[in-house]
């Protein structure tokens, strides 16, 4: 089976993770720009971070046969540093139109402040003007109100709902998201947001249309194999193949290919791992296949 994990912060993951993801069938990922666990203090930190998303991280994933796309945006937490936020918002157009940037994201609300609303609105307007998709991060606290606010603002600005993906949904928010016409994404996170079992319940209840499963794996306790693991649970519980395909591959592809920044034909081809790059001495793979049951080979 092949999987599309449309929300994962690969920057924070090791090559072991990439290897395991590739082995489990993850063929494509989207890495949305987010915060790094602590606030940045200079705009230059954002320049380098965005550059790594469109450069090094894309290349790193490609060495494992994984197509790496990204979303560019100013996240909600750091939108609250208003001086810095203004500088970052000016930076967004320099990165958002790049090849393989499939959305503005992840943007939205954290504490639901005025500053967050300003940054969100500015970026949704940019997305609308450039015919782009928006990936929305919904808050951990006061989630339902945050999602409704995100939907309302996007509607006011005139972003087509088909270009809006609301992430981190729960049982309590999925109906609002789907009724609005947006895509409903779910983060399968160990212990907290949503487990595989609850996810399968939701898919049984709401059907597979516009439902997207992702891992949001990052620098915290999280699981980069959430998508294939949830697919496996779906199969075990007797969901049909089309449902599994839609929620773990096709819906994400359909939603984000609207950006025109996914070479779908190239993606559908078998992943080609270039051996000359794979064994390059000075890139991420150093000619070794790390295994714990064997000594370190040359």
């Amino acid at each position: 089976m092949r999987f599309f994990d449309p929300h994962i912060h690969v920057t924070s993951r090791t090559t072991d993770d990439l290897e395991n993801m590739a082995a489990a069938g993850v063929r494509a990922v989207i890495e949305p720009a987010f915060w790094l666990g602590q606030p940045r203090t200079r705009v230059g930190s954002f320049v380098d971070y965005f550059n790594s998303l469109i450069g090094w991280e894309r290349f790193r994933a490609s060495q494992f046969g994984i197509s790496h796309f990204c979303a560019i945006g100013l996240n909600s937490k750091e939108a609250n540093n208003e001086g810095l936020a203004k500088e970052v918002l000016e930076l967004v157009p320099r990165f958002a139109l790049k090849e393989g940037v499939v959305a503005i994201g992840e943007i939205g609300f954290d504490e639901i402040t005025q500053a967050e609303e300003f940054a969100y609105s500015e970026q949704v307007s940019f997305a609308k003007d450039h015919d782009m998709v928006v990936m929305v991060h919904s808050p951990h606290r006061d989630k339902k109100r945050g999602i409704i606010r995100s939907l309302d603002i996007a509607k006011e600005i005139g972003l087509p709902m088909a270009h809006l993906v609301i992430d981190h949904n729960t049982e309590e928010t999925v109906k609002e998201t789907l009724d609005a016409g947006a895509w409903a994404a779910f983060t399968i996170y160990p212990h907290t947001k949503m487990g595989s079992e609850r996810m399968v319940d939701l898919i049984e209840q709401y059907g597979p249309e516009r439902m997207i499963v992702d891992s949001s794996a990052d620098w915290g306790v999280s699981d980069p194999l959430s998508v294939p693991k949830t697919a496996k649970r779906m199969v075990e519980r007797g969901l049909d193949a089309r449902t599994v395909e839609l929620t773990t591959w096709q819906n994400a592809l359909d939603a984000y290919a609207q950006s025109g920044q996914i070479d779908v034909e190239a993606l559908l081809q078998k992943p080609a791992i270039d051996q000359t790059q794979l064994f390059a001495d000075n890139s991420v793979l150093r000619g070794q296949a790390p295994r714990v049951d064997a000594p370190v080979p040359n």
């Binding site: 320049v47 550059n51 469109i54 450069g55 090094w56 894309r58 290349f59 157009p93 320099r94 990165f95 139109l97 790049k98 090849e99 393989g100 025109g260 920044q261 070479d263 034909e265 190239a266 000359t276 790059q277 064994f279 390059a280 001495d281 000075n282 890139s283 991420v284 040359n298």
Partner: protein, 301 residues
């Protein structure tokens, strides 16, 4: 014919019609004058008109014209999108003054991997390319092999504009990364004792680690390896070495070092027909760096 005109012709016969129109409009806009953000936007959005996975695939005649335009410029392995972006850069009429340099540097500052490749490929084609020598040196520090290749391969930039330190580093790094050194234009014109010493140190390092020596590493010696070089080559060529491509490479390198007589001796007892053929070719004088293309499996070796 200028590089811009050649690229323009190649693009106009390959891009779909709406994209040709987009390209012409973009050229007009750039010629009329655009700010840096808009210019960068055009270069970025070229990806909506040509896919990175589509090769440019120049004809033999186009390749000949490219080399006539600038000796050593070989767009054989360019992508269509790279050509489109290169043409957009060359459209600027201010490339020979500071304004143009700033605009190109600003592109580099925000370039993704594909844009970096296109920008490094276009550097030898802009006026006074030496102004970008430091930028190209920065490109050589990349960890992304396709970007490194765009800086140093199929282009006369490195041989013309790198100082000795940068040149030697680029050559050895190419071997390290496993990128095809035979595609480094002008390699044979810029060999020397320092490069040979660096290469031989690398040979020792590989052998201590019980790893094969990369066949193209032997290209770095030329006639500057001295007794140490000859000894290392004879060891590589020895029948006990199971690395056939390495043995072939050593045969060529021995001839390149002017040790033809040694090679004749080795050939008398040679059982491996592949190695024998390489020895014969080497003795026939076919020893330019490009002969190492034959040692690359992906080139059909």
């Amino acid at each position: 014919m200028s590089a811009f005109l050649l690229l323009k012709r190649m693009l106009e016969t390959r891009l779909p019609r709406p994209s040709v129109q987009w390209f012409r409009d973009a050229c007009t806009e750039i010629t009329d004058g655009v700010d840096d953000v808009r210019f960068a936007g055009l270069v970025a959005m070229a990806s909506r008109h040509a896919r990175d996975s589509t090769p440019l695939a120049p004809s033999a005649d186009e390749l000949k014209r490219a080399n006539e335009t600038l000796e050593g410029w070989n767009p054989e392995r360019w992508g269509l999108l790279e050509a489109l972006r290169a043409a957009l850069v060359l459209t600027r009429s201010d490339l020979d003054d500071d304004r143009g340099v700033l605009a190109v540097e600003s592109l580099f500052a925000f370039a993704d991997e594909g844009e970096q490749r296109a920008l490094y490929r276009v550097l030898p084609l802009v006026p006074s390319p030496e102004r970008f020598a430091a930028r190209a040196g920065e490109g050589c520090r990349t960890n992304i092999p396709p970007v490194f290749e765009a800086v140093v391969l199929d282009s006369p930039f490195a041989v013309r504009h790198f100082d000795d330190g940068a040149w030697n580093q680029a050559v050895i790094k190419a071997v390290f990364l496993g990128v095809p050194l035979w595609r480094l234009f002008g390699l044979d014109t810029r060999l020397g004792p320092e490069l040979a010493r660096m290469a031989l140190d690398l040979v020792d390092e590989r052998r201590s680690a019980h790893r094969d020596v990369q066949p193209e590493l032997w290209l770095c010696l030329g006639e500057h390896g001295g007794a140490r070089g000859t000894e290392a080559l004879l060891k590589e060529l020895d029948a006990s070495n199971s690395n056939t491509m390495g043995r072939c490479a050593a045969a060529y390198a021995l001839a390149r070092a002017g040790e033809g007589e040694r090679l004749v001796e080795c050939m008398e007892n040679e059982a491996d027909s592949v190695v024998r053929a390489a020895m014969q070719e080497a003795l026939d004088g076919n020893v330019a760096s490009t002969v190492f293309r034959k040692l690359r499996p992906e080139e059909g070796a």
